[in-house]
Symmetry: C2
Subunit: 203 residues, 2 copies
């Protein structure tokens, strides 16, 4: 299995983290977004959106981080990481949607403005990012995990850009339930970290 | 079953359309976004994101349009609208992700700037919207439906804001595969339209 990967991308880290939690051996193929390597023809052929991560599982190509999490959960994780009952699955998809909306366009973009000089509106990113943290905190004040009673790909999808939000100027001090949830994720067997990620268990 | 609904919201129309294709009776509860009714306490209690659609299926509450499509497909549609095999499901999730990213932040926002005076950046919406149309066109040039060999919730998720893109200043003239796909959707048994939606079968 090959993962087209950029070390400081939170979306790529989602996949590296799930692969590690599932104990799946894989090869990392480096794609440097800062050099525009995502626009090279070989990668565009795999993913018309010119983005990474892209997964190549013995010739089966999947692009989009939420889709790759879904594929890995269904193919290698049984019901544990993505239940297939209607409500259980819908609850996971709710948080995949938050990860693609408020978290990506708020927390991740605020970080990309600072780290990669992206031309987005910092005020809008801050507002969306705070909405992301509020809605995640509300859920985690009621429940140990975002969807259902165990860790799922909902948690894996939302965790990276929350853990990296300090890079974009956000503080997690006002969010105790989020910090406790991060500590629970850090203790999962097979857990790995990434550069810049806040580790609450260490602090 | 109750759907909290705003008539000119493409995200609400996704749900009305799937309910109609599935032949499910339901009650519409109007929520006027232009009056800010989505911030009323009763709705915030159902959806902390202060958004619609929200579905109430006999007390089971689901928010987020992708999550509601997932719930309805799994609860009432068997394998037809959302397959559960790993690749089949991942392909659907890929297009749900496009609907939440390029389509929502490009096509839908460009429309909301014009219809609701939203303060977003028109140039950025135009760029993302064109990326949305390009990537959907590329897929539909190869395949009748976005994911797999039949209509799925991937098509239902992407269709509304593509059909409404004229409101945001986009033309579908350069996208023949998209127009043929729209015509295929229009002929599905139970199909319904919404105000402002382009109907290619009529033109």
């Amino acid at each position: 299995m090959k993962l087209y990967n950029f070390e400081i991308s939170g979306n790529c880290y989602k996949i590296r983290l799930l692969l590690s939690l599932l104990g799946i051996e894989h090869e990392l193929v480096p794609v440097d977004l800062r050099q525009g390597e995502n626009f090279e023809p070989a990668l565009l052929k795999l993913n018309p959106r010119a983005q990474i991560p892209v997964l190549d599982d013995d010739g089966t190509i999947i692009w989009d981080s939420s889709a790759i999490l879904t594929y890995l959960a269904r193919q290698y994780g049984g019901e544990r990481w993505l239940p297939t009952d209607p409500l259980g699955m819908a609850e996971v998809v709710q948080w995949l949607a938050v990860s693609e909306n408020e978290i990506l366009y708020g927390l991740a973009r605020a970080r990309a403005i600072k780290l990669m000089n992206k031309p987005w509106n910092p005020e809008e990113c801050r507002k969306l990012g705070e909405q992301a943290l509020e809605v995640v905190e509300q859920q985690l004040a009621k429940s140990s995990w975002l969807a259902g009673h165990t860790i799922t790909i909902a948690d894996i999808a939302c965790y990276p850009y929350i853990g990296l939000s300090g890079d974009g100027g956000f503080s997690l001090d006002p969010y105790p339930a989020i910090r406790q949830w991060m500590a629970r994720i850090e203790t999962q067997p097979g857990y790995i970290t990434m550069p810049g990620l806040m580790r609450v268990g260490e602090g």
